[in-house]
Every structure is written in structure tokens, then in C-alpha cells.
């Protein structure tokens, strides 16, 4: 005696968020049933294992049928197959596009290609995220990337409109797209301590200030590609380290301002030239695609690590960078104030975000 067929269909979609999450997480039906039963589903309404099994199957099928629609969320709103109340639609989409920070951290900056997809089982093993879930997340990244790649207008807004995501999630996707497009290196061991949120924040800074979109908001790829002119202009900043006078002058201005305000003053003073060279060198090399990729690793190696070894506190860091940036304005021979601000504004906030254990 076996159940040959078992189907339950509601006029309005019937789903439990718990089961949806299990499905998204890549549990098989049987595993999901186990999880639910361990979680106490049996205590409710005199359920037994068969009931839970049947309920789980029904929902899994529903989700599978919805999956096609979830690939283009705007269709979900005007499709006729399922009647889904608006708040449910939002939940379905938001959860479908949600990702594990652990997983995304592994993929961030990698090319969203078949090659990477093949490595997903390694990532799955490493992060503990089920392979099925890894595939979904990876495909989501790829899908969003493909769609917004060719669109004009602000990246975050495009993502929000095409995928009906919340603002927060849209920003995260913008970061993912941005990283994937510029292929920033994030996988090096030295960068491992950075979380996805750190990097997403930095990406947001870069998108808002360094891309074409920061100056012109009607260009294709405006938020994905860095502003080439700006990168070119950054070369001019070299004067800050090549001109000895300027360098000394800058150092004394900064030191004057810092003196007595921090315990790490001595280290700051001693390292000033090194640190300044590091930051300016990063700026001047950004015309080079390879160096763009190494942007984060450079920041860590050239600036964050030295500071950390000198035991600067976050407050020290803030103080230092503020004065470092502002003092440049007082340098009378330094003419590139605008470029400097645009550069340092981003660098400052990135470093603040990245300066932690």
C-alpha cells in the first residue's frame, strides 16, 4: 500500500516560511521533514510523520513551480498561475535572493562564469552551505549581473526595480555586481578577516564616488565601471610623495595637528612617509586594471597592516586620516584638491570600515 499521488492546492498559495527556508537552504524533502519533526511540528495539531511529509512535499512542489517566476520577480506580480498576496510575494522574492555571507565572501570578486560554478562544491564544503543553496545563490548573482550589465541608470535602483528587492538587499547585490565586474581580489589570506558587509560598504563608497555614475547618471554601466578620467587624474597626486618639500610640509602639518592627541603619535610620525607613499601609490596605479584588482589587498598591506602592527586604535586611525586629508588642503603648491578629496573621501571610509580584527 503506497501513496501514489498526493496533492493539495489552495486558491491562494499556501506556504510556511519555515519550509521555504529549508527549501532555500537546499534540504531534501526527507531531511526537511526530519528537521521539522525535530523542531516540534509533531506537537501541533496531532500531526504525524506522514502529514508532515505530505505537507512538505506539497510546499516543495509549489516552490519549484514558483522558482521559474522568481527568476524574473516582476513576472511574479502579474503571472496568473498562482494567487499570491503581495506581502507573500515580497517575502518569496526577498528570501529567494537572500544569500549567506559566508558563501558570498568566497565568490566575491570572482568571475561569475561556468568555471567558478564548477568550484561550488569546494565552496560548499568549506562554508557548510549546501551545494544546492550555493548554486541558487550563485545563479542569482549571475542573473542580476547579466540583467543590470546593460542597463542605464543607477545600479542600486536598477536592481531594486528589476528584482523587486529591498533597499538593503539591492545595495548588497550592487556590491556583488561591482566586485564581479571589476574582479577585485578578495580571496587572499590577508583579506580573509574582512566580512562581506565590510566589502559591500567599500563597494558602495566606490560606486557612489569613483564611478562614471558619480558625475554622469545616464551612461551605460555608469555604476559598474570606475571613472577613467578620474583614475587618470589620480596620477597627479604623485606630487605629494615625489616632491620632497611637499612631503615634509605635509608631514609637519599633520604632526602638528596630532601632537599630544594620541598615544601612537610617535609611530605616526615615524611612519608618515611610508604610509603616505602607500596611499598615494595606490592612487597613481589605479589606471592599471591589475592594480585595481589589488586595491583592497594594497590598502591592507600598505596601510592597515603597518598601522595595526603599531597598535593604532580605530580612533587613532580616524584622527590620523582626517588630518592627513585636511592638511593637504593647506599645502599651497598642491593644486589637486578636488581629486584629492574624491580619492581620500573613499579611502578614509573604506579604511575606517576595514580597520578591525
Amino acid at each position: 500500500m503506497a501513496v501514489e499521488l498526493d496533492v493539495f492546492v489552495g486558491n491562494t498559495i499556501i506556504m510556511s516560511e519555515e519550509v521555504y527556508q529549508l527549501w532555500l537552504d537546499g534540504y531534501t524533502v526527507n531531511d526537511a521533514v526530519k528537521v521539522r519533526m525535530d523542531g516540534g511540528a509533531l506537537d501541533e495539531f496531532e500531526a504525524n510523520a506522514d502529514v508532515v511529509q505530505s505537507d512538505t512535499m506539497d510546499q516543495y512542489r509549489t516552490f519549484q513551480m514558483c522558482e521559474r517566476l522568481l527568476h524574473s520577480p516582476t513576472k511574479l506580480a502579474n503571472q496568473l498561475l498562482f494567487q499570491i498576496p503581495p506581502h507573500r510575494q515580497a517575502t518569496l522574492i526577498e528570501r529567494y535572493y537572500a544569500f549567506d555571507d559566508g558563501f558570498v565572501r568566497e565568490v566575491l570578486g570572482k568571475k561569475l562564469s561556468k568555471g567558478t560554478k564548477k568550484d561550488l562544491d569546494d565552496i560548499s564544503a568549506k562554508t557548510g552551505v549546501m551545494l544546492k543553496s550555493c548554486r541558487r545563490q550563485f545563479d542569482n548573482f549571475k542573473r542580476v549581473f547579466k540583467v543590470v550589465e546593460e542597463l542605464k541608470g543607477p545600479l542600486v535602483e536598477n536592481i531594486r526595480q528589476h528584482f523587486l528587492l529591498s533597499d538593503k538587499l539591492a545595495r548588497d547585490y550592487a556590491a556583488i555586481v561591482f566586485f564581479a565586474n571589476n574582479r577585485f581580489e578578495t580571496g587572499k589570506r590577508k583579506l580573509q578577516y574582512l566580512t562581506f558587509q565590510d566589502l559591500a560598504f567599500c563597494a558602495g563608497q566606490l560606486i557612489n564616488n569613483w564611478t562614471v555614475g558619480a558625475v554622469d547618471n545616464m551612461v551605460e554601466d555608469m555604476d559598474v565601471d570606475l571613472d577613467k578620467e578620474f583614475l587618470q587624474e589620480l596620477k597627479e597626486l604623485k606630487v605629494l610623495i615625489t616632491d620632497k618639500d611637499l612631503l615634509d610640509q605635509h608631514k609637519s602639518l599633520v604632526c602638528t595637528a596630532l601632537r599630544g592627541k594620541t598615544k601612537a603619535f610617535n609611530e605616526m610620525e615615524a611612519n608618515f612617509k611610508n604610509l603616505s607613499r602607500g596611499l598615494v601609490n595606490i592612487a597613481t596605479k589605479l589606471t592599471n586594471t591589475k592594480d585595481v584588482r589589488d586595491f583592497f589587498i594594497d590598502l591592507v598591506e600598505k596601510f592597515i597592516e603597518p598601522c595595526r602592527s603599531d597598535r593604532w586604535t580605530a580612533a587613532d586611525m580616524k584622527l590620523y586620516l582626517t588630518h592627513y586629508t585636511n592638511s593637504a588642503h593647506i599645502l599651497d603648491t598642491f593644486k589637486h584638491q578636488v581629486v584629492w578629496d574624491r580619492y581620500m573621501g573613499v579611502i578614509k571610509s573604506c579604511i575606517f570600515k576595514m580597520y578591525h580584527d
Partner: protein
């Protein structure tokens, strides 16, 4: 040339990719009506084409307008090879043909392909211009409104209820034509879908004609079914109740309660071929119809038919015959009777009535007949249609053994059963078939009843405002329980007592009916869903042998189902069943029986006695111990159930039965002083004395004797039966369930609802199962389904599963299929809890009144005051504390299984009376075709277009369409009926595994069917479907070939509703706003 149909193809969206190379589609559309086809231009390389076509105009007969669907085919243009079909949309334009209807159908329709399912959507506009006045179109029946709803639709009053209409149409099934061997599955499915569409269009037109002939303008309780007879052909048949409906002004409609729909009904039918037999009131049921009457088989030896002896289950009665002795009444009654008698079949497919309409209920009447199918002879008449649609009636003269004749037989039988119960009408009537290979079981059932003569007069009375109740002999809260038959001439032995409400008339101990609980009935506690399930093995056989075997088994099955129902009812401490439907399904090697009903404690009826277990061998200690255990469990269960369902019958009545007997009589005579008509006189007139006197004494004897039902444990079977009795789990806390329109005892619905369909198929692995094992499996299957529902819908608690409609089938050997459609509705817990507290009923006028009012008021929050509450005359002075426990049926005797079925039958006839089992089936049949929507959108065309077109662009969301099997939506008012939805779909796959197996396949198909229903309703401007039912779900699978095919037939009424809250604000405008704005659920 009476009509011009115009169609415009606006746009498509979400089309499938048809060209792999470009990932795009070059789509165009063919629009076909009758034999005329138009095409749009090809819209190249797009998945969201904007055709924006011109208006395609079809000039057609109105007859065709009624029969034919508009057929829209979306294709992919291919320069080098044949164009590929993407899918089709069939649009029934019938809704556009009513005078008050919408003038446009407009909206997005899913493009459906029988192999691939839904493939994108298409936006279409359809209009009809009728050139002549509607009245002239008598050859067609444009303008007759159809309703699936089995009560008078809200917002209407029935000026006249004309009565029963039926029709059937037969054709060859395309699936079985020779050409099917060479055409593709798609072509064959489409031929079938289209044929069924045409047939149901024609059927509806013909029924409409009959209605017009009778002078009516609408069909209520329209029930259309399909019989897929395989080689023998395809039958589409329909029954309904013809009425003349009048629209209520919005003002007055406010005052109608959902269940007491405004109406006055006058029945007066001008049917010509009526028979004029005087009503035999006290007639005893003679009916044990000859079991093997090979009706009509003389002519063709091939044609075999067995009419199964049917039972009259009775149950109740009304004493009214005796009571209303006033000359006027008598006269009226006479008139009524004649009016009804004139009609060939005084049947009503309605299940709930305006209050006052139903006077007395006699019990369930049912008839079944086993037939052998033969190929339908379809004389080829010169017919220009693409399909030859023949009216079977037209050839009946030559072919007496037609389906028409079969049904005629059955209806006659039902009619005579009703007469035997002293009733002149049958309400809650339904018919259905079950086919297995060449054997076909036809069943019909209903509830014998006496209708109020007042409503039989033509054109009379608006019930709503009248004071007629004062002349009414029986109060509405209990009147319908009073026996309609003569107590001295009862059709069967029954335990009669005086009504616990009014004390003036006799009531039976138990009442079974197929109708809904009358809204003004006095009950205690809540109702509950009761189901009896039964499996019986049978030997495989062919032809006549098989048919005989089946017909021999049927009476046993009905008997056992009845016994089970009775026991379960007692176990729940209840005394009446409503909405009873008994379904018997045949397979090659087994028969399945499923009886569902809603149990209720009617306070007018005596409290049910307990169940007492008796052992056969008193000497055996072990055994005695065992029996005591069982007895204890039973008693515990009864006690638990009483609490669970809050059944607190009036304690005062629980006095010594003997006292009751004594006082009772006096009471009636003295206090009420009712003019009881001399029963003796009557009996003399109609029946033999000996019988009546026997019964009388029998009755007296049994009266005070026992108060418990005795179950005898004499063999293992009986033990099994008792165990199974106790295995029914009550619904978990917070849940209630019923199969009727409303849940007795719950009134304060909130607006959340969830309609669902669930299908489960079980494969029996072990070929050598015993009856017991099978029963267990079947019972578990049903119980587990219920458990699943409770679990899935747990978030809606407190909630009630209403209108639980189970249908069983044996699709092939070793498979059992159960399909359920129901709706879960939430209610407000607090209010309900208050009620039971007040419930305990006392006697006496004033209290009785309160009690009655109770429910009324509750319901009234939504709508209004019921005029009748004021007029109850029920009471007997309170002082008399009478008591009762009447029910003592000695069931022990049944336990002795009879060796011959004849004996059994005889027994049955006896037993049944008390229980009143009737067999009734609800709309279960197969059916039909896609028909569509009715029209009439409330908006002006321009506006609707605007609204819709805005919908079509961008991400604007789809408007919500609610669906429910009930005739109402809680918290809302239905402001317009747009027409019936009647759709038939076939889905087939040759890649079953890839679609997720049978479950995946059916899951998406059911979802698609819902989607298509919603889309058609929305295109008509509607926002809900009421009285929705899935009449058929036929699944054929062949997993080895990776194939599966499924047919689904659904129907319902498309409506526009407005929420009560919005209503107050809007007052008079019928806003489309509600259509769009409503988002809940």
C-alpha cells in the same frame, strides 16, 4: 442574423520561446468562431507581442452564440515549416447575452496547451451586439440566467419557482473515434475539449428553452455532469430548478440574510404531461422495487439493466398533515398538491430555502440503478456543424433504452418514495453516475418534503415582510422536523415523540436530509462532519454477470453505510444529519462507499440514547470483560464528544420516558388543543388497517422500552466495526468541519478564507486483502486527508472547513482515489464561545424565542434582521417538563447478517425508517466543458478598458479573485452575478518524470485550472467565484510509458462582491473599485 460578435486581440505576454536560435517568438493569433477564422499579423521576435488588432467581426445566429465558444489560438510563425501552436483560449460568450449583463469581456487569459499547460497570457476584448430584442429569440434561449448556487441567489427574489428542468445530450467521444489512431494527442485532446464545450453550450441552450417555455427566466442549482462512457460515447446532462427571479432593489436586499434569501415562491407549473394523482399522504412505502428488473432489455438483449432496490430512508416527519385543519389551509394544500402533482417531477435542486418555504421534511429518498452500456446509436442526421450534436430526445421514440429513459425510471422511483413518505416534493435533489468499463450506476437522491402552499400560488408573497407566520401551525424552528406522514400509517416503523419544541406534533427520533440546515432551525451546540466509509471486494467479471454482482452488493453497502452513520451520529450525541451524500464507486474488483454528512443536535428532536454493547455469549467472562471495556470506551467517547461539540441538550427533558408518554398526549390535547385530524380516517382512506394498527402498537411498545441503541458483538466483524467507530479522531482544537453551506453553531465569520482541492491516490500493494483490511485502509485514507488539512491550515485557527466535498473513485485495479474540495473560513472565537453558554434550552415560549433569535442575530451582523424572529409561536407553557429519550432502536437484530439479500432488504426497510438514511449525492458528476463566464461588468466599458489596460502594462498586479464552494463570502455582499463558469480541461504529458511524477503533474494542472477560472472571472469584471465545485477529476496514468492524462471539470458562479465595510461607505454605487481594490486572501 441576430448577432454580431466582435473580438480584438490586444497583446501577449510571457510567451514561451519558440525559436531556439533567437530565444524569441514570432507570434500571431487565429480567432475562430463557428467556421469563420481571422488572423492577426505576425508580431516578430518578441515574447511580449503587441498586436493591437482590428476588431474581428463575426455575424452569427444567436443559437450559435449560445453553443459555440470563441476559440483563440496563438501560433508561432515559421517560414519554412508548419506554424507551431503555442496554445489556445476558449471564451464562452454566453455571459454577454443577458440583457443586464456586461457588454464586454476583457482581460488577460492564460494561453493553454493540453501538452504543455499554461504558456503565457493573451489580452483579448470581446463584445456582442444583438440586433433584435431578446424576446424574439425563442429558438435560442438567450437571456436565461444560470446559477450553480443551490439557493435563491442573493439580491434576487424568486417570484415563481417553476420546478425541475433536465436535459441530456449525447455524442461519440473523439478519443474513441478511428481517427484518433492517426492524430496527435494534442489534436485529440483539443477535439474533445471543443466538443464538450459545444455540447454543454447546446445543453444549456436547451435547458434555457425549457425554462422559457415554463415562463421562467433563470435556472438555479444548475448541475451539469459528464459521463465518459468510453466506447459508448459521451453524455452531457444537466438538471436544475427553473425560477422566475426578480432583482431586489438594493434597499430591500439589505435585509436579507444569506440563508433566508428573499423570496417568495409560487409554484405553478404549466407542465403539460403531468399526472394527476391525488396525493397519498399516509401512504406506506411499498417500495422495495423489484430487484432485478431487466428494464427494457427485451428489445436488445445487449442492453442489460438492473434496477437496484432502493431504500427510503426516512426520518422525519411532520405532523402538519394533521394539524392545519383550517379549511383555507386545506384548500391551499390541495392546490399545492395539485400544482406539484401536475408536474412530472416535483423536484428541486435547491438545498436551502427562503424561510417558510419548507414545511416538513420526510427524510432522504434515493434510487440507484445498474446499467450496462451499449454504444449510443447516433443516427447521422444532416447536420452542418462540425460535430454532430444530437439531442437524444429527438430519437427516443426509436430507442427506448436511452439514457433519458433510464433517468426517467429513476426519477419515477424517487417520486414514489417521496409519496410513500407522505411528501409531495423532493428538495436537495441531485443525480450522478459512476462508470466502470461497461457498467454504469445511476443514482439519484434528495429529501422528501412538503412545501408551503403559500408559495405555490403564483405571484404571491414576498416572504420577507409578511406576518404569515402567525397562521403557520408549526414554528419555523421546529416545524420542518414534524413528520409529514400519517403516524398511524407510517411508511416504516419509527420512534415518534412529540416535538420537544412546540409539543404539538410528532417528530421522529432521527432525521436525515440532503439539504442544508434551515437557518431558523433550533439546535444545540455545534455541528460536525460525519463520514461513513466502506469497501467491499467483488469478483472480477464481465457484462451481465458483473452488473448483477454489483447490484447484489449495493443494498448491503447502503445498509452498512447507514448503520455506520447512525452509530457515529449517536456517538456524537446528535440526532440529525444534513447535507447527506452517499457515493458508491465501482472498480473492477471492489466497490467503495462513502457517505458524508453534517451531524447536528436538533432541539426539537429527542435526545439520542447511548450505544449499548451486548455480547452474544454471556457466559464467557473474558468476553464480558472485553465488552465492558468497549462499553466504557464508547461512553467516554460520547461524553467527550458532548463536550467537544458543546451539545448540551436541555436537561429538563431527561425525565422518565413513561411520564413523557403520558403527559405528552394530554398536553397536546389540552394545551394546544390542536385540531388533530382524525388519523384513523385517513388511514382508512389510504391504507390497510392491519398495518397501521400493528405499527401503532409497535410504536407504543418501543417507546418507553429502551433508550439505547444496542450493538451486538457477535463476531469479529462486529468487533472491527466497533473499533472503527472509535477510530475517528475529532478535529484538533480550533477546528470545525462540516459539508454543508454553513457550520451549525458558528455564526461570526471573519473574512479570511482559503479554498483548496486535494487529491490522493493510494495503491493497494497486496492483492489478497480482506474486506476488513480494505475498510481500514480506506478509512485511514480519509482520516489522514482530514488530518493533513488541519495541519496545513493550522495558521487559520480558529477556523472551520466548510462544504467538505469528498469524491472517491477507483481509477484502475488496486488504486483508490479520493478528491476533496472545501473551503477553510476563519471565525471570531470570542463570540462563539459566548453562545453556547446561553444555549441550554428551556421550554417555553419566551425562551424558545430567544434561542431562535440567537442565531439570527448573529448572522445578522452582516446583514440584517430576519423578519421571522418575531413570529414564533412555538411554545408550550413551560411547566410541563416532559422528557424523553426515545430512540430505541434495537439494532441488535441487524447484526445477524442475513443470508439473503432479500431478507436484508426487508430488514432495511424496517431499520431505515428510523434512521432515515437517504442516499443522496451531491454534484459529483462528470462534467463538462468549458464554458464560461457570464458577463456583465458593472463598469462602463470605457472605464473598464482603462482599468484593464493599465493593468496590462508594467508590474501592476493581478486582481485577486476569491473562490469558494459556498454561496456566500463572509463579510461581503454579492452585488452582481455575472454568469456561470463551466470549464473542462484536459492535460496530458509524455514526460511524467520530468514534471515531477504524477503529483507534480496534477499539482500544476490543478493550479492551472484555478488560474484559468480566475482569469475568466476577472475578464468579466468579477472578483469571486461562489458555489465553486470540481465535478470531475479523472486521472489516467501510465508511469511505464512516462505518460499521464487528466481531465478536470469545474463550475461555479462568477460574482462581484463588495465588503460590508466598503458598502456602507459607497452606499449605492456598484463599484468596480471593489473589484480591483480587494486584496485580502
Amino acid at each position: 442574423m441576430p448577432g454580431k460578435l466582435k473580438a480584438k486581440i490586444v497583446a501577449g505576454r510571457h510567451l514561451p520561446v519558440m525559436d531556439r536560435a533567437s530565444d524569441l517568438t514570432d507570434a500571431f493569433v487565429e480567432v475562430k468562431f463557428g467556421n469563420t477564422t481571422f488572423k492577426t499579423d505576425v508580431f516578430p521576435k518578441s515574447l511580449n507581442p503587441q498586436w493591437n488588432s482590428e476588431w474581428f467581426k463575426f455575424e452569427v445566429d444567436d443559437e450559435d452564440l449560445q453553443d459555440e465558444p470563441l476559440q483563440i489560438t496563438v501560433l508561432d510563425h515559421d517560414t519554412y515549416s508548419a506554424n507551431d501552436a503555442i496554445g489556445k483560449v476558449y471564451i464562452d460568450i454566453d455571459p454577454l447575452l443577458y440583457s443586464e449583463a456586461a457588454s464586454v469581456i476583457s482581460g488577460w487569459f492564460p494561453i493553454y496547451d493540453t501538452i504543455h499547460g499554461i504558456r503565457g497570457e493573451i489580452n483579448v476584448l470581446v463584445k456582442v451586439e444583438l440586433f433584435n430584442d431578446l424576446n424574439r429569440f425563442r429558438q435560442s434561449s438567450c437571456g436565461v440566467k444560470f446559477f450553480c448556487t443551490t439557493s435563491i441567489p442573493k439580491g434576487y427574489r424568486a417570484a415563481i419557482v417553476h420546478g425541475f428542468v433536465e436535459e441530456l445530450v449525447v455524442n461519440e467521444d473523439p478519443e474513441y473515434q478511428w481517427i484518433d489512431r492517426i492524430r496527435t494527442p494534442r489534436a485529440s485532446n483539443e477535439a474533445r475539449q471543443r466538443l464538450i464545450f459545444l455540447m454543454s453550450g447546446e445543453l444549456q441552450r436547451k435547458i434555457g428553452l425549457k425554462v422559457l417555455e415554463m415562463g421562467g427566466n433563470a435556472v438555479v442549482g444548475y448541475l451539469q455532469c459528464f459521463d465518459l462512457e468510453g466506447e459508448s460515447g459521451l453524455v452531457v446532462r444537466a438538471i436544475g430548478t427553473a425560477c422566475t427571479l426578480e432583482k431586489l432593489s438594493s434597499g430591500s436586499s439589505t435585509h436579507t440574510h444569506p440563508n433566508t434569501a428573499p423570496a417568495s415562491n409560487a409554484c405553478n407549473s404549466p407542465s403539460k404531461d403531468g399526472k394527476e394523482s391525488p396525493l397519498a399522504h399516509g401512504c406506506r412505502s411499498t417500495h422495495n422495487s423489484p430487484v432485478h428488473s431487466a428494464c427494457s432489455s427485451q428489445r436488445l438483449s445487449q442492453n442489460f439493466s438492473v434496477s437496484v432496490p432502493t431504500l427510503i430512508f426516512t426520518g422525519m416527519g411532520s405532523g402538519s398533515m394533521g394539524k392545519d385543519a383550517g379549511p383555507l389551509k386545506t384548500l391551499l394544500r390541495q392546490q399545492t398538491q395539485t400544482a406539484l402533482e401536475q408536474r412530472e417531477f416535483p423536484f428541486f435542486t435547491l438545498t436551502s430555502f427562503p424561510s417558510g418555504f419548507l414545511l416538513h421534511v420526510g427524510g432522504v429518498v434515493s434510487a440507484r440503478s445498474v446499467k450496462l452500456l451499449d454504444r449510443i446509436h447516433n443516427p447521422a442526421l444532416g447536420n452542418t456543424r462540425s460535430y454532430k450534436l444530437l439531442d437524444w430526445n429527438s430519437v427516443t421514440a426509436d430507442e427506448p433504452e436511452t439514457r433519458d429513459a433510464w433517468w426517467e425510471e429513476i426519477r419515477q422511483e424517487i417520486k414514489s418514495h417521496a409519496k410513500a413518505l407522505g411528501c409531495h416534493a423532493v428538495v436537495g435533489y441531485s443525480e450522478n453516475t459512476n462508470i466502470c468499463e461497461e457498467v454504469c450506476i445511476l443514482s439519484a437522491s434528495g429529501t422528501a418534503a412538503i412545501l408551503n402552499p403559500r408559495y405555490m400560488r403564483e405571484g404571491c408573497l414576498d416572504i420577507a415582510g409578511s406576518d404569515h407566520r402567525f397562521e403557520d401551525p408549526s414554528p419555523s424552528s421546529c416545524g420542518f422536523c414534524h413528520i409529514p406522514y400519517d403516524e398511524l400509517n407510517m411508511p416504516f416503523p419509527a420512534q415518534l415523540t412529540y416535538c420537544f419544541h412546540c409539543r404539538r406534533q410528532k417528530v421522529p427520533d432521527v432525521l436525515f436530509t440532503t439539504i442544508d440546515l434551515p437557518s431558523d432551525a433550533a439546535i444545540a451546540g455545534k455541528g460536525c462532519f460525519i463520514q461513513a466509509r466502506l469497501c467491499r471486494l467483488k469478483k472480477k467479471a464481465q457484462g451481465e454477470v458483473n452488473a448483477t454482482a454489483i447490484s447484489n452488493l449495493l443494498p448491503f453497502m447502503e445498509y452498512e453505510l447507514h448503520t455506520q452513520l447512525m452509530n457515529k451520529l449517536k456517538l456524537r450525541s446528535m440526532n440529525a444529519l444534513f447535507g447527506l451524500s452517499i457515493q458508491i464507486s465501482v472498480g473492477e474488483n471492489m466497490l467503495l462507499g462513502l457517505a458524508s454528512a453534517t451531524g447536528v443536535y436538533l432541539t426539537a428532536l429527542p435526545a439520542p440514547g447511548g450505544i449499548q454493547i451486548a455480547g452474544k455469549t454471556p457466559g464467557d467472562l473474558n468476553n464480558e470483560q472485553h465488552i465492558m471495556n468497549i462499553q466504557k470506551r464508547i461512553n467516554d467517547t460520547i461524553a467527550k464528544n458532548k463536550e467537544l461539540y458543546e451539545v448540551n441538550p436541555p436537561k429538563l427533558f431527561a425525565l422518565d420516558p413513561e411520564v413523557f408518554c403520558g403527559t405528552n398526549v394530554e398536553l397536546t390535547e389540552e394545551v394546544v388543543g390542536s385540531p388533530i385530524p382524525e388519523p384513523r380516517h385517513r388511514s382508512r382512506l389510504f391504507r390497510s388497517h392491519s398495518e397501521s394498527s400493528d405499527e401503532l402498537s409497535e410504536l407504543d411498545l418501543s417507546h418507553g422500552k429502551k433508550d439505547a441503541f444496542v450493538l451486538e458483538v457477535d463476531d469479529t466483524d462486529a468487533v472491527e466495526d466497533i473499533h472503527s467507530l472509535l477510530t475517528d479522531a475529532p478535529p484538533p482544537k480550533g477546528f470545525h468541519s462540516c459539508n454543508t453551506e454553513t457550520m451549525p453553531g458558528i455564526y461570526n465569520w471573519t473574512s479570511a478564507l482559503q479554498m483548496f482541492t486535494s487529491v490522493r491516490v493510494l495503491r493497494l500493494s497486496n492483492a489478497n486483502l480482506t474486506n476488513q483490511a480494505l475498510n481500514k485502509i480506506f478509512t485511514d485514507l480519509c482520516e489522514n486527508l482530514l488530518k493533513s488539512f488541519y495541519f496545513k491550515l493550522r495558521s487559520m485557527v480558529p477556523c472551520c472547513l466548510s462544504h467538505l466535498n469528498f469524491s472517491v473513485a477507483v481509477p484502475e485495479e488496486e488504486l483508490i482515489q479520493v478528491a476533496v474540495t472545501a473551503v477553510a473560513m476563519t471565525f471570531d472565537k470570542d463570540q462563539t464561545q459566548e453562545k453556547p453558554a446561553e444555549k441550554p434550552i428551556m421550554k417555553g415560549c419566551s425562551e424558545g424565542e430567544e434561542q431562535l433569535q440567537f442565531p439570527l442575530e448573529l448572522c445578522a451582523d452582516s446583514s440584517s434582521v430576519n423578519s421571522q424572529s418575531s413570529s414564533r409561536i412555538s411554545g408550550v407553557p413551560e411547566s410541563s417538563s416532559l422528557s424523553t429519550r426515545a430512540a430505541s432502536v434495537d439494532y441488535g437484530s441487524f447484526a445477524d447478517r442475513c443470508s439473503t439479500w432479500l431478507e436484508l432488504l426487508r430488514l432495511k426497510a424496517h431499520t431505515i425508517r428510523r434512521g432515515s438514511v437517504k442516499t443522496s449525492r451531491r454534484t459529483q458528476s462528470l462534467a463538462h466543458s468549458v464554458s464560461s463566464l457570464e458577463h456583465s461588468s458593472p463598469i462602463t466599458e470605457g472605464r473598464s478598458r482603462l482599468l484593464r489596460s493599465s493593468r496590462s502594462f508594467g508590474g501592476s498586479s493581478v486582481s485577486v479573485v476569491k473562490m469558494t464552494p459556498l454561496s456566500f463570502l463572509p463579510g461581503t455582499r454579492i452585488v452582481k452575478y455575472l454568469g456561470i463558469i463551466n470549464m473542462f480541461f484536459i492535460r496530458e504529458t509524455t514526460s511524467l518524470r520530468e514534471e515531477g511524477g504524477v503529483s507534480g503533474f496534477l499539482h500544476s494542472f490543478v493550479a492551472e485550472v484555478f488560474a484559468m477560472v480566475r482569469a475568466h472571472v476577472a475578464a468579466l469584471g468579477g472578483n469571486a467565484v461562489v458555489s465553486y465545485s470540481m465535478k470531475d477529476c479523472v486521472l489516467m496514468e501510465n508511469p511505464n510509458k512516462n505518460q499521464c492524462q487528466c481531465l478536470i471539470n469545474v463550475s461555479g458562479d462568477a460574482v462581484i462582491y463588495i465588503r460590508e465595510t466598503d458598502l456602507e461607505a459607497i452606499a449605492s454605487t456598484v463599484g468596480l473599485s471593489s473589484t480591483n481594490s480587494d486584496g485580502a486572501t
